[in-house]
Every structure is written in C-alpha cells, then in structure tokens.
C-alpha cells in the first residue's frame, strides 16, 4: 500500500466506468430495437411459410407442413429462382465494370462536359421505369433484339447509375499516385490494373456489384414488359401467386427465398471488402521473420 488515494478507471464507484456501462447498455438496447424493427415483419412470413392451415383466431398456425413449398415448386419456383440469379449476376457483371469505367473517367477529368454526362448517367433513376420501358420496348421490338438480350440491356442501363455513383465515391478518395508508384516499379498496365487498381477499389466494386445485382433481382416491370413472358423470374412467380387466393404459404416461401441470395451476397461482399490485416505471408514460414 502506498497510501495514495488514486481512483483508477475500473475501480468500484469510478464515474468513468459508470458512464461507460450506461453507454454500452444504451447501445445494446438501441441495436436490439433497430434489429427487431427489421426482423419483426419476417415473423409472420416465417410462420406462414410452414403453415398448411392457419385459421382465424388462432395465434399460431393450426396445421404445420410443407404444402406451401410443394405448391411453390409446382408453380415453377425453382427454374424462376435460377433465371433470377442468372439475370441478376449478368446485370451485375456488366453494370459494375461499366460503372467503374464511367466513374473513373468522370473523376479523373477525361470526359468533356462531365456535369452533363453525370446527369445523363443518373437520369434512369429519375425516370419512372414504366414510362421509359414502354417506349423502349417498341424500339427493342423494331430492332429485332431478342427479349432476353433486351431485358439485360435495359436492366444494365438502370443499374449503371448506382454502380457509377458508388464507384465515383470510391474514386474521389482514390490516390492515382499508387499507380504511378507501381509504374516506376516496372508494372505494366495489366499488372497495375490487376495487382494495384482492382485490389484498391475492391470494396467499392463489391458494393457496386451488390447494388446492380439488386436492380436485377428485384425488378418486375421491366421483366414483364421487355421479357414479354419469355423470361420468368422469381418476382413474376411470386406476384402471380400473390394475386391468387389461398396461396399464402407458397407466397411466404417465395418471399423468404427471395431474401436469401442478396443476404448471402451481402455477407460475401462484407467479407471480401475487408482488408487483410496480416497479409498472406504466414503461408511461407521463415521468409517473413528474421531467424
């Protein structure tokens, strides 16, 4: 004992710890509230998905089962899921590099009248899709463009504003000097793109790709009009079943399965977007450390 009457953070009764504890409690509480705000609507959906029967006034389904699932499959949910995934991935694969190119050109000033070009690129967001698509459809039909290609084309145009905007934010913070440094180290254009540029903007690229995927994934209007019934996606199956009566559990199954791919992608993007903290050097021991 030194006899000093010092109070340290963490000592019982310390006001510092008290404030800390209270702050943490508030944080946990608010997070729980926000999470339940998002999750609560899914509770009835989850219940309906496995309810063969649920009559009023029961609080829970009166008969559990997989009728909804088999009914959804019977209505072509599985091929529709596949089509939706393929369509959204193709849209993301096209709209992301296009958005990145546009954003890079706009940020580094290689485009004449950058303001006008930006507005033109963002225009598809402002336009009501129905109006634009009806007009475009005539054009696509006249040009004899197959409905699948026309659908991809229109969805890519609708996704490009999102990818461009996301990538512009990334390029605004991007330091072109990294690429100059790589050049003085002997890197070719291809090496710079592959080993410097893409890794540096990878988090933004995955965000942009996710947004473009969502544009394709959640589209209904364009698929109906331009796809002309040739392309049946998950939203189309869901909508047609929701329009009928007594399909509640099948609609619930379809809605829930529509949530899974974007969530999985979000988790993947979050994981891929994280910078490696320690690097990959540990794979070859004795190289990174002095003996």
């Amino acid at each position: 004992m030194t006899g000093l009457d010092l109070r340290r953070p963490g000592d019982p009764g310390s006001t510092l710890t008290l404030a800390h504890g209270r702050g943490r409690l508030l944080r946990v509480l608010s997070t729980t509230l926000v999470a339940s705000w998002f999750l609560l609507p899914f509770a009835p959906l989850a219940l309906w998905a496995f309810a063969n029967q649920w009559s009023f006034p029961s609080t829970l389904p009166t008969e559990w089962g997989f009728d909804g699932l088999s009914s959804a499959i019977a209505q072509g949910a599985l091929p529709a899921l596949g089509t939706s995934l393929l369509l959204s991935l193709v849209v993301a694969a096209l709209a992301t590099p296009l958005g990145a190119l546009a954003a890079r050109a706009l940020t580094f000033g290689t485009v004449p009248w950058p303001r006008t070009v930006s507005i033109a690129l963002l225009a598809p967001i402002a336009l009501p899709p129905f109006a634009a698509v009806l007009g475009l459809n005539v054009l696509l039909l006249r040009a004899h463009i197959p409905p699948e290609a026309g659908l991809v084309l229109v969805l890519v145009v609708m996704a490009v504003p999102y990818t461009t905007f996301t990538m512009r934010v990334a390029y605004a913070a991007h330091d072109i000097h990294y690429e100059e440094e790589a050049r003085t180290l002997g890197a070719s254009r291809w090496n710079i793109l592959w080993r410097v540029h893409i890794p540096l903007v990878a988090p933004a690229l995955s965000r942009a790709a996710f947004l473009a995927f969502l544009v394709g994934w959640s589209d209904y209007v364009v698929t109906v009009v331009v796809g002309g019934g040739e392309v049946v996606t998950l939203p189309l199956v869901t909508a047609s079943m929701a329009a009928g009566i007594g399909n509640d559990s099948a609609v619930a199954i379809l809605s829930l399965s529509a949530i899974v791919p974007p969530l999985a992608l979000l988790a993947l993007a979050g994981f891929a977007g994280r910078r490696p903290r320690t690097g990959a050097v540990q794979k070859t021991p004795n190289v990174g450390e002095r003996p």
Binding site: D175, L185, P199, R275, P276, V287, G288
Partner: protein
C-alpha cells in the same frame, strides 16, 4: 549499377498554362552521386523528377540516361525508382509483399520475390517486419519500406521526392543516415528533391538550386553557401547579408568600408554577400578594427535554440547579421568588431530588374 542522368534544355508546360513549370533546365548528375534539387514550393523541382521518371513528357529538350535519350521509353521500362512524399505502400499487401512487388510484376515466383525482398527489408533495418500489415507501421517505418521497395527494383537511378518532409527532425536524421548506408551498399545515382537546405547539405554531394522553373546554380554544397552565383541563390540559400558597393582592385568599397574580396572578382558595381555563420564577432570592445574587420554597434540579439543571431548596425543604416555560439559576450548597444574572412566573402552582380523576396525572408528553411 548506377547510371548518369543528364537533362538537356528541358522545358515543361502543363496544358494551356501561361507559365512553364520548367524552362531550359540543363543538369548533369554523375553515376553514383547524390544531387539535391533545392527550391521553394512550386519552383518546379518535383516536375524535374517526374520528367526523369517518365511520368511526364517534356515539352522541349531531352532526358538522357547513360547516353540514351529516354524520351520514348515508358516509365515502367526506364529502370528509374521513385519514392514520393507519401509512402504509398499498397494497403492490400504485407510489408514484405510490398517490397517484393517489382519482382512479382517482373515475373518472379512468390517465394523467389519474397526472398529477394527480405534482403532489402534487412537493408532498411526492418528485418522482422515482413509479415506485418502496412497499416501497423509508423511514419518513419513506412518511408523505410517505401525506400526498400524502390531499391528492390534495382534501379540505376533513385528519385526521392521530399520523402522525409513529413517526418519529425529526429526521424529525419535517422533517414539521412539510412541514405548514407544505402549509398554505401547499393551506390545508386540519387536525385533528392527538398525544400530544406539543411537536408540538402546533409545528404547530397551537389545541390541544384531551382526557382520559377529555372536552374539557378548547380554546385557543391560549400560553393552554394560561400560562392553563390547570384543574389537569388544567396537568398534561397538563406543568405542574410547583402551590401551594395563597388569592387576596386580586389577591394569591395561601401559605406561599410573596404573589404578584401576573392582575387578574380571583376571591378565595377557588385553586392557583397557573406554567410552570417562565417562572420566572427568580437566581445564588446573599445579597440580599433582589425585589418579585415569593421566596427559597428549591436542593435538586436535574437535566440535560435542554443545559438544567437546578432544584428550589427553601421553608419548609413547598414545592417550585418552574424550567428553566435552560446555565451554572454555581446548585448544590445555594445560596440563590436566584425571580422569578414576573405575566403567567405563573395561578390555577386547587381540584379537587373526586381528580385523577389527579401534577404533571408522568402528563402527555404
């Protein structure tokens, strides 16, 4: 393998700009030497490096490396390394993989390039840091890694663009020592851009003083301080003392008196310049002036760390500034005798037209 770099009448104008960034710069940097390019902000010194590296094209003139005009050679093929003011370490690569970058893009295997990189990591005294993420480094360590990365590409010429200006003074001294070690070990030709006179004289064999896109003087460190080519160079090198007068038969005649000047100084009007560090100041005295000395009165004493700067006033409002070692021998108002050693005195031409800045004021520190 170090290489000679020569600039022949290099000019550079950016876009539609009215003011060229460089005008007719000719500079010869011998293989294995270290030249500092010294100048204030915006003087065009970084542009010189970018032109040599191939990151900018010249508007006129040519850049020659070892006798070859490199104008048509892309930056990535010139074999000229560059370290910027910011370390610019690739955040997605570990410390070792950053240094191994040049070997990797050159086609070496991962294992071979890392083995090669380890040597350079050891050279910059960070041997055990290879596996770390670059985010875990301090500012000084980052710049060491950046230098190691540039050296690992085995450049014949290493360009350093104010690489130490963001570091604190103690770290900067460490880096100057590191640069000496590197010169001993690898002997690359080094061209260092700086706005810091002390740094330039600490690391370089020669200094090229540049201002307004023009090369004013390229000379040894001693000559730049003691034999400036013009009043502009004297001011940029931090010279404080300028006495207008006339040279007559080896003597500079001014209200200060007659001061002996170097033998080859031509007769006619000229400005006498002398470094404040070179002037010897007597203690307060009533004695007559020594042969190469002048008598004045102390008008002001200012402290600069352990040293002091005295301003001594003479008849006609003339002022001379002298740096003094620690001590208490002079005080305001006392009569002192100043000795101007002939080997430190030099005379420069009276400029035609205005010279920007005041003596010592706009000068880089």
């Amino acid at each position: 393998m170090s290489r000679t770099v020569s600039l022949h009448e290099v000019s550079k104008t950016f876009g539609a700009s009215q003011h060229p960034a460089l005008t007719g710069v000719s500079l010869e940097v011998p293989a294995g030497s270290c030249t500092a390019i010294l100048g204030p902000s915006g003087s065009g010194k970084s542009t010189i490096l970018r032109v040599i590296a191939g990151l900018e094209r010249v508007s006129a003139g040519k850049v020659v490396v070892d006798g070859t005009d490199v104008g048509g050679i892309a930056a990535e093929k010139r074999g000229i390394g560059m370290v910027f003011q910011r370390p610019l370490l690739f955040p997605h690569l570990s410390v070792l993989d950053n240094i191994a970058f040049s070997q990797r893009v050159g086609g070496a295997s991962r294992v071979a390039s890392r083995r090669h990189a380890q040597h350079y990591l050891d050279l910059v005294q960070l041997g055990g840091f290879g596996a770390r993420s670059v985010q875990a480094l301090s500012g000084g360590q980052e710049q060491r890694v950046a230098i190691a990365r540039a050296l690992a590409a085995a450049p014949g010429v290493l360009l350093l663009d104010e690489p130490f200006s963001a570091l604190d003074p103690a770290l900067r001294d460490d880096m100057h020592e590191l640069l000496d070690d590197i010169r001993r070990a690898e002997a690359p030709t080094i061209i260092l851009v700086t706005h810091d006179r002390d740094e330039a004289s600490a690391v370089a064999d020669n200094i090229a003083v540049i201002d307004g896109g023009e090369l004013l003087q390229h000379d040894t460190v001693d000559h730049l301080y003691n034999r400036p080519a013009s009043i502009r160079v004297s001011r940029l090198m931090g010279g404080l003392n300028e006495i207008e007068g006339t040279v007559q038969a080896g003597m500079h005649v001014s209200p200060l008196g007659r001061v002996p000047v170097p033998a080859n100084t031509p007769d006619g009007p000229g400005i006498l310049v002398i470094r404040h560090e070179a002037i010897e100041v007597s203690p307060c005295t009533e004695a007559a002036a020594p042969p190469s000395g002048v008598i004045g009165h102390v008008s002001r004493v200012r402290r600069f760390g352990p040293r002091r700067m005295v301003s001594v006033a003479f008849r006609g409002g003339l002022l001379l500034h002298a740096a003094l070692p620690p001590g208490d021998a002079v005080r305001d108002g006392c009569r002192v005798s100043l000795t101007l050693p002939p080997q430190a005195v030099s005379v420069v031409a009276v400029p035609i037209g205005p010279v920007f800045g005041e003596p010592g004021s706009g000068a880089p520190r």
